[in-house]
Symmetry: C2
Subunit: 226 residues, 2 copies
DNA sequence: ACCCATCTCGTCAAGATGACGACAACCCGG
DNA sequence: CCGGGTTGTCGTCATCTTGACGAGATGGGT
């Protein structure tokens, strides 16, 4: 029984919503292969490091933010030819974050930036990262339906309209404000009402909420409502 | 940039329904560590083998059946101490199969057998396989809600009652035959009606169906209906 | 003051759900 | 051959949810 050596990496699909658009964190590769191309941030797992710990470390290195960001395993990619240099298996992770400051912190990937997914030419991504990103987007879209995960894109306190903007950005189409409001506020455990506050986005001040304790929405929100 | 060597394995959670009970394929370990304990079937990924190909190869080695069985990636487990012999990363796969013949085909894991999950002492499983199995079960239970995947447990042609038995076995509680029948037959694309046939399970013959083309159920079946 | 934008609640028809009655179609034993 | 047991299929009905949309509430700007 042989156990041939593999290199194991983590790759991150870091999504956030900026200015109403779903964006993903990408780095510009400085070295071959795919020098100059855009790629997902990531790196090698260290010899005594847990996979989740490696993902969180890379996340912190790239964004400066570590805890408080939702992070879940996405899938693992290990086609024999996915990296021309060596046999590599990559464990991909999906991170959902509130609007983050533009990454600048001096790291190995200084050229990290957020790109709106609509503006992105998937085919231009390095390695098999187009596939990984597509899987991450689909996972995010699906999870908004049956989990309260959209709150991971919001700050600690947020309005129903801000939450709705997340859904609209991720799903790519508008939702009815009144029906959305009814759905999220009348689903027990989805939101916790902040008695006091409210803020102004132009019109009548809105009540602020925090995420509730609910983990699974049933019945789910439907991606198709108008 | 170092890339320390890891051993990469695949582990399989093979589920099937026998005699109305959800069962999982387990092997009895012959060697240390965990000699004599039950474990999920699995093995090392070969140097030039795709991960999916490795999973399907192991599936065939253990069950004698390869194609036609639903196989999807579950998650990847890579805690540094999960295998005391070496640093191992395991990509787990979930397989859903119709009732299979008892595995006997001479392989390295001659002691493979199906065990009803209710009868199983999770803590007795080797390595972190209890966790993997739990994740696989939860995945299977969840997927039955929003996908027509229950058909993967059935033969090519099956009755509504057989399909319902799958749901009842996986979810662990009975469903109303009439409401279930309405739901699955009136959801376009879920089932394809076989004009001709029918069979006998004791009472009135039932129409036979094949799986339809539908991939996602919306609205989903709810795990909680009586 | 007035207008305007946004938030929040209400109404209403259409459809889905859960509970359950009723009949249909087959097997079996007498 | 006939009636009971068993299982499959359809129908009904109250209730809940959904999608569409009206309308008042509550702030800022001019």
């Amino acid at each position: 029984m042989e156990h041939p050596p593999f290199a194991v990496t983590v790759d991150l699909v870091v999504l956030t919503v900026r200015a109403g658009r779903l964006t993903v964190l990408l780095v510009e590769r400085g070295e071959a292969p795919y020098a100059g191309a855009l790629a997902l941030p990531g790196g090698f797992v260290r010899p005594d490091e847990d996979l989740l710990a490696a993902a969180r470390r890379e996340l912190r290195e790239e964004t400066g933010v570590g805890d408080g960001v939702h992070l879940e395993q996405l899938a693992t990619y290990g086609a024999p030819d996915r990296d021309p240099r060596m046999r590599t298996v990559s464990v991909a992770w999906l991170a959902l974050a509130p609007d983050l400051p533009e990454p600048t912190a001096g790291t190995d990937a200084a050229a990290a930036r957020f790109v709106a997914v609509d503006d992105l030419d998937l085919a231009a991504l390095a390695f098999d990262h187009a596939r990984i990103l597509a899987d991450g987007l689909e996972r995010a879209r699906a999870k908004l339906e049956y989990s309260p995960l959209a709150t991971a894109f919001c700050d600690e306190e947020f309005t129903v309209a801000q939450l709705r903007a997340v859904y609209e950005a991720v799903w790519g189409h508008p939702l009815d404000p009144r029906n959305f409001h009814r759905k999220v506020t009348r689903t027990p455990g989805f939101l916790t009402e902040t008695e006091l506050t409210s803020t102004a986005d132009g019109g009548r001040p809105a009540r602020l909420y925090r995420r509730g304790t609910l983990e699974v929405l049933s019945p789910p929100l439907t991606r198709g409502d108008t």
